[in-house]
Assembly symmetry: C2
Homo-oligomer: 322 residues x 2
């Protein structure tokens, strides 16, 4: 009789970003044995990119997986499709069209490869190693340059019929509201609650309130970091920027809760550095818009994963996913 | 070796409404072998109600299940909780508080009993016997006096961490919009797209347009049926009532699609009798608010189940659910 020794299994997690690609060999406990990175945008074809990944990773795998089992590869990438193992029309990657990325990886590495978008991967990472350990129903919201999401229901990631489920950043929170700079939609969550959205709100509000400290900064420095600095100094306009952002976020979260009734909503990404300036109004407006049966039940929590490693960990979690 | 003969299995489906309770014995193909009903509101305690159900059903089961397997009981009821097998604080039922309904049923009938709310049961019924056969990802929206919903993702009903998921009728489609007559929330889908919501919209709009045919009816006859009659006659105000309703519905559907990326949205209930008057604007505004990757993919379809039997069929499907 042979039992599977989980402690000996290793997964390769790869996070493909527009500029850089990070990777790491990860064990079942979420410990990164070794990690590294290569630039993404220096390779004209996905084949060249994968060759370069292999050159860098295989020697590490040979060294660190000795006496262990290299189980497989998980990839988080923009516009990645879970069912087809493809990257499709990703605007921020150098390779256009539909790329059969998982097949190319398996061909090169001789290992099974699964992929999904970065926010879905992040949700799996939280369930496997992070703040959502033991949870079967939660929603992960990543608040960065954009707003991404991954939804876990009944212990499984929701992929939808085509593999593209969980685009909560693009749900409309204010019909006819702010036009999105890239999608053209009006009033989406991302138009308000992303770093870009916060910057737009801040520029509008400082123009209305000439006495705001925000007016002491040049245009290009009006970002969520500067707004946070000003809010900490007590500037009412900066505080109002986050309150307004939090309200929009909270209204959206209420709708998400009435969809899948999660135990918790996990927040991740640069924007959450604003802490209670955003969290308190978000919680207030979420609760206010919920049916009574959902009130005071849903935890709003911050991610427990180190931001630098979260994407690698999330991608590796795809390998363990049943 | 003994194989399970599916054709011999029978499930009891029970649909509990505020006034009447309907039940039927159903086979795997969704054929109702026998059905019946008892009043709900004549029984002061759930025990008396269950005694009366048993008196009526057991002789039928003895007759129709001869040579077959009576597998179990599925119950659709307002405020029913799947995990706990309870009916909790249902405002329209005569029994208050938390009722351990499934346990009471099992005690009396000697069969396992599962329960969920009526819209969730309807979704299971569509997957098992109706328009969603073979689908693993779809959303069922019931447009009646209220707006209910059941969400199937990856072949499973989404129950959420507490069993109350899928309250899409209460998601907010217009922040700060129309106050809901019962929940007090502002701008929920139900406030616009339910029969009650349509009646409110119609009363407002006919007051604005004195020339509308709608003004020839007394106040109490302004319901979705009357609006439909007037719309068919070409009354622009009546047509606008449905267009506005369809717009709000379509905006909500876009958000639902970006959540779980369903293959189809199934519509069911009295309101859909308005047909294209509602469906066309709903489709238009759904597509308009979707990210390009979701556009022209999601089918908007009407339920295939007979409205009179759908609730019994849906409840019975709980028994077959894995």
């Amino acid at each position: 009789m042979s039992l599977v020794d989980l402690s000996k299994q290793v997964a390769l997690g790869i996070d493909i970003g527009g500029t850089n690609t990070k990777f790491g060999l990860v064990n079942h406990r979420g410990e990164i044995l070794v990690k590294g990175s290569i630039p993404t945008d220096e390779f004209e074809t996905p084949e060249e990119f994968i060759d370069a990944l292999y050159e860098k990773i295989q020697p590490m795998a040979d060294e660190y997986c000795e006496g262990k089992e290299f189980e497989g590869i998980g990839v988080g990438a923009p516009n990645a499709n879970y069912y087809r193992g493809t990257i499709e029309q990703a605007p921020n990657l150098p390779w256009k069209g539909v790329i059969n990325f998982a097949d190319l990886m398996t061909e090169k590495f001789g290992k099974p490869c699964k992929m999904t978008n970065d926010a879905n991967a992040a949700a799996l990472g939280e369930m496997m190693y992070g703040a959502a350990r033991g949870m079967k129903d939660f929603i992960m919201i990543t608040l960065g340059t954009g707003v991404g999401s991954g939804i876990i229901a009944g212990g499984h990631l929701i992929y939808g019929h085509d593999g593209f489920a969980g685009e909560l950043g693009h749900t409309i929170v204010k019909p006819g509201g702010r036009k999105h700079w890239s999608t053209g939609s009006e009033g989406s969550l991302e138009a308000y609650a992303s770093a870009t959205g916060i910057s737009i709100t801040a520029k509008k509000m400082r123009a209305e309130f000439p006495e705001s400290v925000l007016n002491q900064y040049p245009e290009e420095e009006i970002d969520s970091k500067t707004v946070f600095e000003c809010a900490k100094q007590g500037d009412p306009t900066a505080i109002e920027v986050f309150r307004y952002t939090g309200q929009k976020l909270g209204e959206a979260l209420a709708n998400f809760v009435m969809f899948s009734s999660p135990e918790a909503i996990l927040l991740f990404g640069g924007v959450i550095k604003a802490g209670d300036f955003i969290l308190k109004p978000a919680k207030l407006h979420m609760e206010r818009n919920l049916l009574p049966i959902f009130r005071n039940k849903v935890k709003l929590v911050f991610s427990e994963l180190d931001e630098a490693d979260a994407a690698i960990l999330g991608a590796s979690a795809l390998v363990w996913e049943k």
